[in-house]
Symmetry: C2
Subunit: 328 residues, 2 copies
């Protein structure tokens, strides 16, 4: 058993990470490559990044030792439904010298698995977008939000950025002096916190600069809100509270009242010690006082653990989780 | 004085209307042409529609009798700042045989002027977008919202349509049976109110069909909300109330508490006997109990009245308004 190796991959929009681990929890290889989301980058390019990450993770060991693999990625369902995409992933797998089978999972399930071995619970992710999902028997069950910036992603990085601009525009409409957050947003978008003699000219300039870029770029302003909230800036603090309420509302759509199963928090805005994570934890503590809340961990390690569960020697999933998945 | 003719134009996104009237209030010519918004259609094409509407309005009279003209259009400031656009409008004016001067005003001012002769007040417009403006001495003063669908237009037709879809998506996330409004929206977007065995497939289909079109197309769903609200449908009724609160909030940005000056309501969602107009009137009555609320009328006639005010014989603006601008 000590020699058995499993491999896990976390394929994200900006990077692809691979982890090769023994069932005793020794990391025998790690790989990293560029963003490989097949929905945004195309299956062929995603497969290229997959191949690069796999090869990097397998430099120190014989690929024949790998007995199982798992890949987590956004849009897993679409990849599985697309024979050409699936074939491209199969080729990348074989090119890396792997002969074992692999499974493909949604990124939300892999984030969940990186936070808890519990087969049933909830995962909530807030990064550029936002999505909540119920997990049942280690499979994604019902999903809430994840509807994209135009129709949803309430409480996400996009949402925080857009609302920060909207608060600034409201200040200008009211001829109010912008506060600290509004001034930071103004500087980020127009290069200066100065307001034109006719404030409407500044309003028009802001609307133009935002609408000229892809809407999702508004998510780049989210760190300004987070940083301002850390200093207690009132508008930022209110926006963080509102975002947390939106995220908790999404969870209520798919989680029964009073449920005690774990909640895993993932995505750039909820992993680590962020003001939004703290606000979401408070919302969850109010609505589900019996729930344990855990941060998502290393997605590639979570995927490797999901791969290991397919092996006959994986008789104690929780013990294996403790060995394979580092606590964040 | 009876022979003096003025001409007004209301240049909108879908149509251009011209009205030639004597100072006694006799309509001596009307013209209509296609949409002529210079921002969306280009100044040259806008000038072509202007020319066509002018010629149609001047078939029965000698253009030399026209002593003053006024044009109302969205983006008036941009046109005035663009020498080529201004030259195109000058040429259209001369091609129609007109030798008198003309003025250019924002569409919001013309909407205001079509509803009241009062030099000071507020105009609130909700159609595809939404904007509020203070009018001072018959000029647009401060403006609120009008920030476009990505950052604003709160309570507009776009907003109503988007929120209707968001409520439907929330129902599907919660595995709730959609109510009457949600079913209508589902049918409008997917051709049937049937929900897939996995409701998430219907969610994905809705998100795809909406995101494939220009976002502003969501405004096409607004009439479904208005119609449902007329029958008392609860979700539609709540959305109309929320939209009215947003519109009233925009007005508070530019109108002092307790002000008694008139408020003119314009745009497709606020002119006529609509549920949103009724809800907005109620909001205004609560916040500004002394205000008279009037519907916007014929924009071309409002513009003609603004033109007439530039003539020395226009000594009684209110009396002239009663003669020139039909009460809606």
């Amino acid at each position: 058993m000590s020699d058995t190796v499993v491999i896990g991959l976390d394929v994200g929009g900006t990077s692809t990470r691979a982890a090769a681990v023994t069932l005793r929890g020794h990391r025998v290889g790690s790989g990293r490559a560029g963003g490989g989301n097949p929905t945004s980058h195309g299956a062929e390019r995603a497969a290229d990044e997959l191949r690069a990450a796999l090869r990097a993770a397998l430099t120190e060991i014989d690929p024949a030792r790998v007995r199982a693999g798992a890949i987590g990625l956004a849009g897993a369902g679409r990849l599985l439904a697309d024979p050409a995409g699936r074939a491209a992933f199969d080729r990348a797998w074989q090119d890396a010298g792997l002969r074992c089978p692999y499974t493909v999972h949604g990124d939300a399930l892999v984030a969940y698995a990186s936070g808890t071995p519990d087969p049933d619970g909830t995962v909530l992710i807030a990064g550029t977008g936002a999505i909540a999902a119920a997990v049942r028997g280690r499979r994604l069950d019902r999903v809430a939000d994840g509807h994209g910036w135009l129709l949803g992603d309430a409480g996400s990085g996009f949402w925080l950025g857009r609302e920060a601009v909207r608060r600034l525009l409201a200040d200008l409409d009211r001829a109010r002096t912008p506060g600290p957050l509004a001034s930071t947003v103004l500087t980020a978008l127009l290069g200066s916190a100065a307001i034109a003699p006719r404030p409407r000219d500044t309003v028009d300039a802001l609307v133009q600069v935002v609408t000229r870029r892809p809407p999702v770029d508004l998510a780049r302003l989210a760190p300004l809100v987070v940083d301002a909230a850390r200093t207690g800036e009132p508008v930022a603090t209110a926006l963080i509270a509102e975002a947390a309420a939106h995220l908790a509302e999404s969870v209520t759509r798919i989680r029964p009242p009073g449920a005690g199963q774990p909640v895993v928090l993932g995505g750039g805005l909820l992993t680590g010690d962020t003001p939004l994570a703290a606000a979401v934890r408070a919302e969850i503590a109010t609505r589900w006082p019996d729930a344990t809340v855990r941060p998502a961990g290393d997605g590639a390690a979570g995927a490797a653990w999901l791969a290991a569960l397919d092996l006959p020697e994986a008789t104690d999933p929780a013990a294996l989780h403790a060995l394979l998945v580092p606590t964040p």
